[in-house]
């Protein structure tokens, strides 16, 4: 539907009422001009009403204003016709107004207006934005984080209640939201999928098939756009991968990966959590998952991947499920994990850890509480399905909590806002424990356990014009440490650490040395404070700040002062 189509919708609906109104008006006016006038006091008869007077009279009578009998007291015939006119016009107006109000209340009409308003809002966006399909728990977290980071978001959500919830949130920037099915390509285009300001699309709905539809629409309509799609079933993942969706996020797989990483290298796991945390939160150091016998309750989609992750780490797993054994090569107890009997039968007393992996939050909590009573030293991994149950899960203090929404949000933010973070995280995942441990100690010692600001910088004309100009003039060789100074007196080092340097043709440099020379086209990843990020941005952009940071001297500003400084320099050189 185009933007003008609502007007046509209105006109089409109003066709019959308008026809009725025109016809009644015409009949009334015509009749009034045909009625003989009243007798003249001089004995003759006054002329019949002219069209002008008839239109005047019917206009004020039909709209119930009623000025009286103008231009003269009417004849009996004219009065008779006026009675007919009054009842006709009342019916006509009542019908027309009724149709107009019915149309204004009409759901389709209101929907058409809402779509138009939304499309206009998106069209008028003149800054980069992210398209979020599905404002569930993950969508909510992502919108909050994007808002905090200063990015705009556009939301499509099927559920009206959630759209209402979004409107009640106090975001700094206005978030355009539409209540529609994200699986429709038209809806996606209205939401700015093909806009040049769109920086990425996220398919986060609960429904795998909708996410799949968004993925294929993004692939075909905006192939260059990064698309992040949530998928919970293995066949959806395979389907999305088959047409080249770049980022497929399966929260269960992701958590199993984290778990495997935590088993393999706890320091690397903590470092990962710290770097990818949601902005404004504090990360707590996690207890290391112990090695030994594990018990798992609920062999569903999540249970399967967790079993695989634990077994890959060489740990024996005992499964408790209500269904008969689905995987005969595992130790399997048919029963209810929430009861002490089944847990005892599965050997909870000599187990080191328990995974509560069912789709019910209450059952998961009940299982873990019962298990803790039987064996207080247990390491607990809890699946939390709904963010709303956070209070209960916080009160229990499990060792690991698997919250799908949070995992999806972390992944999306890491991929979209700092693209360089992904290669660095890959390095962290494959690193040995000692390297990760040393790095974690250093970084958290410097910046604390609050989630740091992680950002990337490119040395080019667009993102760092001041540095670009200095390099093009070959004025100075810039080392990393010379650049990373605060533009204040004494030029103290900035509170940030370079994590990664990418240079074309070279292998990636992890934790680059401060003496390393910067070249044009370098891409750098930093972790540090928000203040350091602002200061560095200033240095890269502003030539004066850059000169001060490099030399400690203020440059003369303005034409006259520059000219005087040049003269002084020339004189001192000649003498």
């Amino acid at each position: 539907m185009t933007h003008t189509s609502t007007i046509f919708l209105v006109l089409r609906r109003l066709r019959t009422p308008l026809l009725v109104l025109i016809t009644l008006f015409a009949i009334s006016v015509l009749g009034l001009t045909l009625m003989p006038g009243p007798p003249d006091p001089n004995g003759g008869q006054l002329p019949r009403m002219s069209f002008f007077h008839a239109v005047y009279f019917i206009s004020y009578t039909a709209t119930t204003i009623g000025f009286g009998e103008i231009p003269y007291a009417f004849s009996e015939q004219q009065r008779l016709w006026t009675v007919v006119c009054i009842y006709m016009s009342v019916v006509g107006w009542a019908y027309t107004l009724g149709s107009v109000f019915a149309m204004l209340q009409d759901k389709n009409f209101l929907n058409a207006l809402a779509v138009q308003r939304f499309a206009r809002q998106v069209r008028r966006l003149r800054e980069h934005f992210f398209l979020v399909c599905g404002y569930g728990e993950a969508g909510h977290l992502i919108c909050q984080a994007l808002d905090e980071l200063g990015y705009r978001a556009v939301v499509i959500e099927k559920d009206e209640v959630k759209i209402g919830d979004l409107e009640l949130q106090s975001y700094q920037a206005d978030v355009p939201a539409l209540c529609a099915d994200a699986g429709q390509p038209d809806t996606l285009i209205f939401a700015g999928l093909t806009s040049k300001y769109c920086r990425g699309v996220m398919a986060l709905t609960n429904d795998d098939s909708t996410n799949l539809a968004v993925a294929i629409a993004a692939r075909l309509l905006a192939p260059a756009l990064p698309a992040l799609c949530r998928a919970e079933h293995a066949d959806t993942v395979a389907n999305m991968a088959s047409f080249g969706t770049r980022h497929i996020i399966n929260p269960f797989e992701k958590f199993a990966e984290y778990m495997a990483l935590a088993l393999h290298s706890p320091a690397a796991y903590n470092l990962l959590l710290w770097l990818t945390g949601l902005p404004g939160t504090t990360v707590a150091r996690h207890r290391e998952p112990p090695k030994g016998k594990w018990v798992l309750c609920g062999y569903g989609a999540f249970g399967k991947v967790m079993t695989r992750a634990l077994e890959n780490a060489g740990l024996p797993v005992t499964i408790i499920d209500r269904a008969a054994p689905l995987a005969p090569d595992h130790t399997w107890y048919k029963g209810d994990g929430t009861g002490a009997d089944a847990l005892a039968a599965a050997g909870i007393s000599d187990a080191v850890g328990i995974v509560a992996a069912t789709a019910s939050d209450v059952n998961n909590l009940s299982t873990v509480v019962t298990a803790k009573q039987l064996n207080p030293a247990l390491f607990t991994v809890l699946r939390q399905n709904h963010v709303a149950n956070r209070t209960l899960f916080d009160a229990f203090e499990s060792d690991f909590a698997m919250v799908p929404a949070e995992i999806v949000a972390h992944e999306c933010l890491a991929i979209l806002t700092t693209p360089l973070l992904t290669p660095f995280l890959d390095r962290v995942r494959s690193a040995d424990d000692a390297w990760a441990g040393a790095l974690l100690e250093e970084l958290t010692g410097r910046f604390g356990w609050d989630v740091p600001c992680v950002w990337s910088v490119s040395i080019n004309l667009l993102q760092s014009p001041a540095v670009y100009r200095v390099m093009m003039r070959h004025e100075a060789r810039l080392s990393l440490s010379a650049l990373l100074r605060a533009p204040v007196t004494d030029r103290p080092p900035l509170a940030c650490t370079p994590l990664l340097l990418l240079r074309e043709g070279d292998p990636p440099r992890y934790l680059p040395d401060g003496e390393l020379e910067i070249r044009l086209g370098d891409q750098l990843l930093f972790a540090g404070t928000e203040e350091a990020r602002r200061d560095l941005g200033m240095t890269l952009f502003n030539g004066h700040t850059l000169q001060f940071v490099l030399t400690g001297r203020d440059l003369p500003g303005g034409l006259i002062w520059e000219w005087l400084a040049q003269r002084r320099e020339a004189r001192s050189r000649s003498s």
Partner: protein
């Protein structure tokens, strides 16, 4: 045969014929131009306009545009008539009459375009 098409065609042609009937005659002679015919032309034109509402095609848009032009011209003619008779008090002089008739002539042209479009549309349909 479609009743809706009959009504649609009827009003478009009727608007044009009434308009023509009013227009024909000496341009400055009030005797040749009947006020009831002008009234009928205005009403039928308005009805034709409303019938054209809600068609989103290109041809539908041109149809609506021609009708709006005809409405505008005929209403202007009616207003000139009313103004001459009731406001100035000079009555229907030759110059007023000729301006009324020339306005209705403009409307007639728009109505002819409308009829041509109607015919073209019908020929294009081939069924």
């Amino acid at each position: 045969m479609n009743l809706e098409k009959v009504i649609f065609g009827f009003f478009i042609v009727f608007a044009a014929t009434l308009n023509f009937g009013f227009f024909i005659g000496d341009i400055d002679n009030p005797v040749h131009h009947e006020i009831y015919e002008l009234f009928a032309a205005v009403v039928v034109n308005l009805i034709a306009t409303v019938l054209k509402f809600g068609d989103r095609t290109q041809i539908g848009a041109i149809h609506l545009a021609t009708s709006l032009v005809a409405d505008l011209q005929l209403l202007a003619a009616a207003m000139v008539w009313g103004y001459a008779v009731h406001v100035t008090g000079a009555g229907l002089t030759g110059s007023t009459m000729s301006s009324i008739v020339s306005l209705s002539g403009g409307a007639l042209f728009a109505n002819i375009v409308s009829v041509i479009i109607l015919i073209a549309e019908t020929i294009m349909q081939r069924r």
